[in-house]
């Protein structure tokens, strides 16, 4: 036994891995040199516009849109998930239909549709159903680009979030509900105190992903002339013809936001992990 223990273990060598590393480093080096030295990237222009007031205002709108659309998606999505799980067949079918529709139609189409809602209904009235109207307004004054953006992004987001939340709720063992019922707790309290906190563990990673998608999906809003980050840079380069550097400015900002969010997601997931 002692003789065997003294023998050394020689690990298998992997020459292929080393060769691949060298090749990859070479390629990365080539690309980096090219990006740094090609004058067409116009890095000084990028630096000039990174903290430009107009760009920062666009950035703020992108962030605000992301937050608003996600809040809308989470609130509406939770309601839709609960409806979907309801014992009432009409309610669950209704929720199913909503999710089916808003997941099927592209967000870009929805945005343009809401923006042109005035073509469908020229005026919008509030009043008694089938009775007199108490309040009437021109659709185009009500549905601003901001309203269309929120409707398009938020409504379709709620359809995705609803499915994530439903999966989270279903993942919690039915024994949890039985135990809580046996203690005399009522349905709503059981959702709030027992089921949803446990469902969070399943819900948070995909919702984190959705927030990150949303940051970038807000750029779709540029088609309805809402001056978020992308449209702001587009406005600038349509004046200055510095297309590439301004697109780089937008890209860098998206990279920064998503990086910060990824770190946040890591800590949030850690917080909700089971001890």
């Amino acid at each position: 036994m002692a003789e065997q223990a003294a023998q050394q273990v020689v690990k298998l060598r992997h020459p292929g891995t080393w060769m691949a590393t060298v090749v990859v480093l070479l390629i990365v080096g080539l690309v980096a040199t090219s990006v740094a030295t090609n004058p067409a990237f116009e890095w000084p222009v990028v630096a000039q516009y990174m903290l430009d007031g107009e760009v920062l205002a666009g950035l703020r709108r992108t962030l605000a849109l992301t937050v608003a659309a996600m809040v809308m998606g989470l609130v509406l999505g939770t309601v839709l998930a609960l409806l979907r799980l309801s014992r009432n067949r009409l309610l669950s079918t209704l929720s199913w239909g909503y999710i089916w529709f808003f997941r099927s139609v592209p967000v870009l189409v929805q945005l343009i549709f809401w923006y042109n809602f005035g073509a469908l209904y020229a005026t919008i009235s509030l009043g008694v159903p089938f009775g007199p109207a108490l309040f009437t307004a021109n659709t185009n004054t009500l549905i601003t680009p901001l309203f269309a953006a929120l409707a398009g992004l938020g409504l379709s987001q709620s359809a995705y979030t609803a499915e994530v939340i439903r999966a989270g709720i279903v993942s919690v063992s039915p024994g949890q509900t039985r135990a809580a019922l046996a203690l005399g707790m009522r349905r709503l309290m059981i959702y709030r105190r027992i089921v949803l906190p446990q469902a969070m563990r399943v819900i948070i990673p995909p919702v984190g992903n959705e927030v990150i998608s949303m940051v970038k999906n807000t750029s779709l809003v540029s088609v309805i002339a809402l001056a978020e980050l992308l449209y702001t840079t587009q406005l600038i380069y349509s004046r200055t013809y510095q297309t590439i550097p301004l697109l780089i400015v937008a890209s860098l900002w998206y990279l920064i936001i998503v990086s910060v969010l990824s770190v946040g997601q890591y800590f949030l997931e850690r917080r909700f992990r089971h001890r």
Binding site: G175, R178, A179, A180, A182, G184, M189, Q198
Partner: protein, 260 residues
């Protein structure tokens, strides 16, 4: 064992209870009486309807026909002119506070510590002031032998410890009746004893208990009555020593010969 005073009120009374899942009848015309302060053990093969019977006692499962009374109160329904009307959620929840339940799979809340598990329902349901609920929970956890482990999460406890927390959680609501649904079946053999000891202690303190179990030793030592169920009916019942030593029915004999 607690000697039941003659004429003592039955804590649990069941008459003509039947229940089906679709076309499969799981309980047929069950009658059961559990005097206050006594321990009723229910044994029988799996699928015989024992667990369903327990779930009907606190209305976790609705029943098809029959009546269940806990502490003289009809469970889950209101009787009016010969018909049973299912009670609204609020009323059912209020009645369930009188009945503690312990599950085979423990069903502790995994996102809460042992202490939080025990104080959750008293604070949220009974509106007990948090300080008082904590004080009470501390004593209950100490009583089931978990002193020093109050801050542990269920995943950090052994199966036996989890089940003892579950018993403390049920007791925290001051139930009049405790239901145990195969409380030791999911435990490693060496952990069974500690849970049974807590249950025996509880029985000695005068708690009325209905225990579905495979632990025949516990049924013999702690049970005041033993009921043998098979295929949704009560086949035989009586003093545990008598039933286990000299079963009258063939089905009981067959079952006992298989498990002993």
């Amino acid at each position: 064992m607690i000697a039941v005073a003659p004429g003592a009120e039955d804590m649990l009374k069941i008459r003509g209870l039947s229940k089906s899942y679709g076309s499969r009848q799981v309980l047929r015309d069950i009658d059961l009486d559990v005097p206050t302060g006594s321990v009723m053990c229910i044994i029988g093969p799996s699928g015989s309807g024992k667990s369903t019977l327990l779930s009907c006692i606190n209305h976790l499962e609705p029943i098809d026909s029959g009546r269940v009374w806990v502490a003289g109160e009809l469970v889950g329904y209101r009787e009016h002119r010969g018909k049973l009307y299912e009670l609204p959620e609020r009323e059912v929840a209020r009645m369930r506070r009188n009945v503690g339940m312990v599950f085979q799979q423990f069903n502790l809340f995994p996102h809460m510590t042992a202490l939080q598990n025990v104080i959750e329902a008293p604070i949220r349901v009974k509106r007990t002031p948090p300080a008082r609920a904590k004080d009470r929970a501390t004593r209950l956890l100490d009583r089931v032998g978990l002193a020093g482990k109050h801050a542990r999460y269920p995943a950090q406890l052994s199966g036996g410890e989890q089940q003892r927390v579950a018993i403390a959680r049920a007791l925290a609501m001051d139930p009049k009746l405790m239901l145990f649904d195969e409380p030791t079946s999911a435990l490693d053999p060496e952990l069974v004893g500690e849970v049974l000891a807590v249950m025996q202690d509880l029985a000695r303190s005068g708690m009325t208990m209905v225990v579905v179990t495979h632990e025949l030793g516990f049924a013999r030592e702690v049970g005041d009555q033993l009921t043998f169920m098979d295929d949704g009916v009560i086949v035989e019942r009586g003093d545990p020593r008598m039933v286990l030593a000299a079963p009258k029915e063939k089905r009981t004999r067959d079952f006992l010969s298989r498990v002993l």
